[in-house]
């Protein structure tokens, strides 16, 4: 029997998947809990990933004609009252602003809220209502359409149980809202944005996704159609990584978005909305990371290469530090997907912990550089997609000339690995007992699978499966062919398989 290899992260994925997740986030220095319950501090290593996501996604949005705007943080209470009218047992978890001043509390000491607002304000859970009102104001003629707006912002939805990046009371996201003169154009935009999300998540985050549409019961309230992308985490649960909604004329009717068409008649606009959030980072962590910590795909990595000069306490470290700087400079002249390669130097004199810090941060490439490497014109290289101890000596010029290929190769490896994992854990299933057994015993790291099985189309079957097995229909995949079969729950006739899984 081989020696048990100790991993850098305790617990491991097998031992305790949620505990492992928490530890990966902490050890990578991406974020930490804040003194405000349910809100996190996103530290530079975590925020840089979000910046890379924002910058690259934003560029893709703009290529399709979308423009960014910014709407107020606060929503008047009355805006939500309209919404509440249609919802039985309405209760919304959100942050409510009731005062606009702090004054000394003469009786209790400290400060107390003062200056009560005539109408409470809500910290936006989305900007939907207020964007709707603006669009109504901006639209009078067909000439004003389409309106293609996106907002990058913080939103708040009060949460009792939170997990960093996956569910926090405040989170960062983008919400896109578009208004069109025709149904066809709005439907096209809905699918265009879903496709953009899917490509982005697959190409940049190296996360393979299933594209599809939600069942009526899982649709966004007010949407005629909700499309989504679903990714498989390593515990085989699904994470919804983005949604794009076709809202028909419902939203336009609610907000009064009307226009005069070319024939001079008044019509309601056709609208869409679509969003992604910092949750994608939670997905990225759970798809790629291992028992040594975070693994970041090069396309969104805060830095691509860290150089670890071998320094000696009390010795003259200047030559090796200068040499490391020269290596950094020449690497940063290389262009990786339109931007310079990003290089860090870590010259802390803290021994072996230094290299492990960078393993746990998930940087794609680590370079050790000592006097002997310099003498031999070589570098000692390790890749994060390989075991931590698999280091290789490379000729320095070869490394420099190959760096962007190495990064591309790591990106590809991560995607292929995730795709293979998804395939291995996706099954077509027609036996209802097998289906039941699979999900009944699902837990921890082995939390089920992606199951493509038949569904009769009834809300009841869907609800019962959810109740009995905690399994939901993640989507009706676009690639699911028409095929005769029987509902996995009730045996009634079905014409198409849907995607069942446990989900985040």
């Amino acid at each position: 029997m081989g020696k048990k290899i100790k991993s850098a992260i305790t617990p491991t994925r097998e031992q305790d998947y949620p505990g492992w997740y928490q530890e990966v986030v902490k050890a990578s220095d991406m974020s930490e809990n804040s003194p405000v319950r349910g809100c996190m501090v996103i530290k530079p290593w975590g925020y840089a990933i979000w910046e890379n996501i924002m910058n690259q996604m934003d560029e893709l949005f703009k290529k399709t004609g979308v423009k960014n705007a910014y709407f107020p943080l606060f929503i008047p209470l009355s805006y939500l009252e309209k919404e509440a009218e249609h919802v039985e047992g309405f209760a919304k978890e959100c942050a409510v602003v009731t005062h606009h001043r702090l004054e000394p509390d003469e009786t209790e000491g400290g400060l107390k809220p003062a200056g009560k607002l005539a109408e409470p304000l809500i910290v936006r859970p989305t900007s939907e209502t207020i964007i709707g009102e603006s669009m109504a104001k901006w639209t009078s003629s067909y000439r004003d359409l389409p309106i293609l707006i996106n907002q990058w912002a913080n939103v708040v939805r009060w949460e009792m149980r939170t997990r960093m990046f996956l569910r926090t009371s405040e989170f960062l996201w983008q919400e896109g809202h578009t208004a069109h003169a025709s149904r066809e154009e709005a439907m096209e935009r809905t699918l265009q944005m879903l496709d953009l999300y899917a490509k982005f998540v697959e190409e940049q985050l190296a996360m393979p996704v299933i594209r599809g549409r939600k069942t009526p019961s899982e649709r966004f309230p007010g949407a005629d159609d909700t499309t989504c992308i679903e990714a498989m985490m390593q515990d085989k649960r699904a994470l919804q990584a983005g949604t794009s909604h076709f809202l028909g004329q419902n939203f336009a009717k609610g907000s009064g978005i009307k226009f005069q068409n070319e024939a001079g008649q008044e019509e309601f606009a056709w609208t869409t909305s679509w969003g992604t959030s910092t949750r994608m980072i939670g997905g990225m962590i759970m798809v790629h990371s291992d028992d040594d910590g975070l693994v970041v795909p090069p396309r969104v990595a805060p830095a691509h290469v860290v150089i670890l000069p071998i320094v000696k306490k009390g010795g003259d470290n200047r030559p090796v530090l200068e040499n490391a700087q020269r290596l950094k400079d020449v690497l940063e002249e290389k262009v990786y997907h339109g931007k310079p390669v990003r290089v860090e130097i870590d010259s802390r004199d803290i021994g072996g912990a230094r290299g492990w810090d960078w393993v746990k941060k998930g940087i794609p490439v680590r370079i050790e550089l000592g006097p002997r490497d310099i003498e031999q014109n070589s570098v000692f290289m390790a890749r994060r997609d390989r075991p931590a101890n698999a280091k290789e000596s490379m000729n320095r010029e070869d490394f420099i000339s190959q760096i962007t290929d190495i990064l591309d190769h790591i990106q590809e490896t991560l995607f292929n690995r995730a795709m293979a994992y998804q395939k291995e854990n996706t099954f077509e299933m027609d036996d209802k007992n097998k289906f039941r057994k699979l999900f009944q015993k699902a837990k921890g790291y082995n939390n089920g699978a992606f199951v493509r099985a038949h569904w009769c189309g009834s809300d009841d079957c869907e609800a019962l499966i959810k109740k009995e097995l905690s399994v939901t229909i993640r989507c009706i995949p676009f690639d699911s062919p028409t095929e005769e079969g029987q509902c996995i729950y009730c045996d009634k006739a079905s014409s198409r398989r849907v995607l069942y899984a446990k989900a985040y």
Copy 2:
């Protein structure tokens, strides 16, 4: 006498400067008031300017080693209580969150706040306190320093009287916070960031600024030194366009930012903070715009060129539209300061209003393109730094090859014009009666001047000048030489001139 030329904006600057400002913002389609009192909607044309500012400033920050992070929107009330202890008559205008749920109001109808929080939360007026707490957690050894953090975010300071971009309850800004192991390093960083701001504002926003330090009474609370940049608006009032504070060890003592130095002793860190906001856009508007509306410097313009194809209702407009698209494509291959030239096509069939729309939006270059221009291989070009009717025919290839030079020339013209204006309206003054008279009659468009005059250094003189004339010492300019003189208020001896002005 010449014919009176009608301007696109009513009122003009001379007629009603604040009214003109409001009208310029509205006519340019940059922003509009929102249903939430004191908050604005930043529309795409306004937000794109902010994006250009963010992207370019962020790049400059990162070159100096600064990294971005994100801190919670909410601050616990207790964090501000600590601050309040030191402030007599403390009252803070801010948004106070007291509840975390909305529920149906059974008696009154509608919704009511529910789920009262044990401790109220404040919507951040700055993230200073919470960043201080994080820094204290992150700092234990000299090896952890410097910490160089910046945040781009929204903040809220409740305001009763608001003006778009200049003063709104919610605004967008960046706040930088750094911690260092030595006084010298922190002081150097303070000045480095002020210098970065000054260069950015001068080079990108084409606004000449005066660099200097605030008097003790105008310092940021808790700062040992506050440095600032001050720009002259067209009404001759000053606008502070950015500040950089040297906080000594005060802030570190308040937040507990301690570290062990190389000798093993515990010390408090030396910190700085520095910030700029969407207020810069208000300054940019007031420095460059004219009675025809907004003027945007090319370096931050949402678009550089608009092509206005001459279309005919009912005619076959395809050839001219296709030709316009080809012109756009070839212009967008040109690189202006590292990024492609940004081109819009406006093919709306709304007559002469179309061209004026773009004048009022302040786009640097307008191109009219009709069948005859295409035939003659020419374009009809107008520049926003020249009168609206000063259009010239140019050879198409010449225009394409010269576009980036034209943009640079416009940028230079705007800066030089603003600099000349600042110089014309800046005086050295030693006569206290002249000084008094100048500011007593100041109002509207002729709201004083920048006056370099002596100050004895007493808080009293400063306060009396402010009270009697609404004039403040904007800064003690760095370029002010040592020079013997007498205080403009009390005649006592002074060794240096300071900068007096009315201010926004």
